[in-house]
């Protein structure tokens, strides 16, 4: 069986990457299980998906804790223990990270196994849309397992992304196959593993659950923090930016429809976004009648601000 985990942040397409890889395995005649796992259900929150592929029916279910391949679309997750990127990895696990410094991560994580970087796929045409991690990670992973043919992968992309329209599909297909091609030197480095049926298993460290005081045992939040003090602006991967030249001062649409009440409208009908609390859902971008609000990637937003000043 192959056991593969994709780690990323909400919005990076790791569910899609798992679906593409799952479909590709299925296209090669494997029995497959693929599933996303997310807690907070929001853009930017850590999540993962996983894929099992086996030549015989699968007698496992749920989270994979002994992965053969771990794909990390966002290297900031490496420093977040709660993301569980390194959970259950052994020296036999291959780690594929979206980074320019695979060796650096190998050293920092003191990881003895193979660490590879997700291939850098150029936007085409130059300056066009940068490749989506869902496509690149799926393509690279498909090559590493060594049992998926290029045309099977292409078929899986078409099947999974059919609903996105021709333009998006062609783009995704190009990125996926480019990543597949770029990993040719490492084809088959992730090995299919036979489960350790007879492995010695340690006894569970079962305990009797102690009865605690109500003060401790009731799941109450005693802190006095309010939602105003909770700076949810850090959740954004894109920020809405209002162009005052195009805003027609309707005075209410973006501010009313913002689900976090993070847009305040002045007496002179000018809207202002509270970036400390805007979570980057981009509802305002979608609803603004004169299209006066655009989405700017957080990475670029700081640079844009500098230029504006």
């Amino acid at each position: 069986m192959f056991r593969i985990r994709f780690h990323g942040r909400g919005g990076q397409g790791m569910k899609t990457a798992g679906n593409i890889l799952g479909s590709a395995f299925f296209g090669e005649g494997f029995e497959v299980q693929d599933a996303p796992r997310y807690g907070a259900e929001r853009r930017g929150a850590p999540l993962f998906s996983y894929v099992r592929a086996s030549r015989t029916p699968i007698q496992e279910r749920g989270v994979i804790d002994n992965p053969d391949l771990v794909v990390v679309a966002d290297e900031s997750l490496m420093m977040l223990p709660a993301a569980g990127v390194m959970q259950g990895v052994t020296a036999d696990t291959v780690i594929l990270i979206n980074t320019r410094d695979a060796q650096g991560w190998q050293a920092r994580a003191r990881f003895p196994g193979v660490v590879l970087a997700v291939p850098a796929i150029a936007a085409s045409p130059p300056g066009g849309t940068p490749p989506l991690q869902s496509a690149v990670c799926a393509g690279a992973a498909a090559r590493l397992v060594g049992v998926i043919r290029r045309e099977t992968l292409a078929q899986a992309v078409r099947l999974e992304l059919d609903a996105r329209g021709r333009l998006m599909l062609d783009q995704d297909l190009r990125w996926t196959l480019a990543a597949y091609d770029a990993m040719s030197a490492h084809a088959g480095c992730v090995r299919e593993r036979v489960a350790e049926r007879n492995g010695v298993t340690a006894a569970p460290d079962w305990i009797d659950v102690p009865q605690d005081s109500v003060r401790r045992a009731a799941p109450d939040i005693h802190a006095t923090a309010s939602s105003e003090q909770s700076l949810t602006g850090t959740w954004r991967s894109f920020r809405p930016v209002i162009d005052p030249g195009h805003c027609n001062r309707c005075s209410w649409i973006c501010g009313t429809l913002c689900p976090d009440s993070a847009i305040r409208v002045d007496a002179d009908r000018t809207p202002h976004i509270d970036y400390d609390h805007c979570k980057g859902c981009l509802v305002c971008v979608a609803v603004c009648p004169p299209h006066a609000i655009r989405a700017v990637a957080e990475g670029k937003a700081a640079a844009c601000e500098k230029i504006a000043q």
């Binding site: 679906n19 599933a35 996303p36 749920g62 007879n198 079962w206 802190a223």
Partner: protein
């Protein structure tokens, strides 16, 4: 027949589509929403004929489902967890209307604290209401069970709603290969509903929410409902046989895995049973005679089939993915009642685990098998064990220490 990758939710939606349901009252809740989204997409594209209506709550949704079913329409609906609890008044009221429909519940643990991942406390809260309950372990079984559920619900001797259960995340969001039956074969197995006297019309009013005073009349109606649900044992068996004849997949009321010569068996329901199956394979590879018994039908309770599966076994590790506060596991209690006083029945050991999606690890299955075997040998019944590890408690203690430190409590250290 085509084979495709479907999530549990996709399989449930396909079940409704292939059953050619007329009406879907809907209300969203994680992890169920994907079912009604899929159906809504098919209604919008014209792939399904009929009507989907969004209701303002699950309470109204179940009312609408039963009211539509009372007109003779074929009705499908779905919910989960808090939604099922919110609908509970109508979950109890509608089976007495004796109108058949199918409800898919996507199990998710209940508040407090609120969470997303599965256990069966939600669906077992609906245990006593008069719905037939079918519990599924994989996506194929789910699609097939929706079709079987209509045969059972619409059986003239039954005529009560059927709840088909799947686990959130572990099944609802997990894609796996599913054979999609052809429309022709489904129509042979499940012809259009012939409603007979299930024919409420506004022009010919019937009151179905009647009051009776006096225990004797009340008891009569409740006993009748109970007998109708019991009759579903026969209807289920007929439906399962007809299903096997048409599609080649046999779904007995109680599934057994490597049980024939087993001395110790795991007893559990739902998709976590796959973990027990894996443990059985590993223990068998070590030469241990271990098996798995998984009831699909929980209401009506397939007591004869359960006794048959367990006769001659030495010990049973009953794994309850639910917790009846102040007692323990519901499956354990019911199994004990089913075996009580019968000859040659095994020792029962009770475990509660998998709450809120908490994993049950292979080493825990090994330990449960060993403990149950030892209990049978010594004759001493162990107390119910709440599966929890020292490591898990340490993690909770760390978080509690942080919480206590943040609010400046003295002696914050655990």
């Amino acid at each position: 027949m085509t084979r495709a990758l479907l999530t549990g939710n996709g399989a449930a939606a396909w079940g409704a589509r292939l059953a050619e349901v007329d009406y879907v009252p809907a209300f969203p809740i994680t992890p169920q929403t994907e079912i009604i989204e899929t159906l809504a997409g098919w209604y919008a594209s014209g792939a399904m004929q009929g009507r989907l209506t969004t209701l303002e709550s699950e309470h109204s949704m179940i009312t609408a489902a039963a009211a539509a079913a009372a007109t003779g329409a074929r009705v499908f609906t779905a919910t989960s967890s808090q939604g099922l609890l919110y609908a509970m008044e109508m979950m109890f009221a509608t089976p007495g209307w004796r109108a058949p429909f199918v409800l898919v519940n996507v199990s998710r643990a209940v508040a407090t604290p609120i969470t997303l991942e599965p256990d069966h406390t939600d669906v077992l809260a609906a245990r006593d209401c008069g719905f037939v309950q079918i519990h599924c372990a994989n996506a194929q079984e789910l699609l097939d069970s929706v079709l079987i559920a209509y045969r059972v619900a619409e059986h003239p001797g039954v005529r009560v709603p059927v709840l088909v259960n799947q686990d959130g995340f572990y099944l609802s969001f997990t894609r796996e290969p599913v054979e999609l039956p052809s429309m022709d074969s489904v129509r042979r197995f499940l012809p259009a509903f012939a409603p007979g006297e299930v024919a409420f019309r506004a022009s010919k009013p019937v009151s179905q929410a009647v009051a009776v005073l006096g225990g004797a009349s009340y008891s009569y109606f409740r006993y009748e409902l109970h007998l109708a649900v019991m009759q579903a044992l026969v209807a289920y068996e007929e439906a399962a046989q007809a299903f096997a004849a048409e599609f080649g997949r046999r779904y007995s009321a109680v599934d057994t895995y490597r049980c024939d010569d087993a001395e110790v068996v795991f007893f559990m329901i739902g998709s976590f049973a796959a973990k027990a199956g894996d443990a059985v394979d590993r223990l068998r590879a070590r030469g241990e005679r271990v098996g798995l018994v998984r009831p699909r039908l929980l209401r009506p309770y397939p007591a004869d089939a359960v006794r048959e599966a367990l006769r001659g076994k030495r010990a049973v590790a009953v794994i309850d993915q639910n917790l009846s506060m102040g007692f323990g596991g519901v499956l354990y209690a019911e199994l004990a009642a089913a075996l009580q006083g019968r000859p040659a029945m095994p020792m029962l050991c009770s475990y509660v685990g998998g709450l809120g999606g908490r994993d049950i690890r292979v080493e825990e299955f090994f330990a449960m098998a060993a403990e149950s075997r030892n209990a049978a040998a010594s004759g001493a019944v162990p107390a119910t064990r709440l599966l929890y590890s020292g490591g898990e408690l340490r993690e909770v203690r760390k978080l509690q220490a942080i919480a206590a430190a943040e609010r400046g409590e003295a002696g914050a250290r655990p």
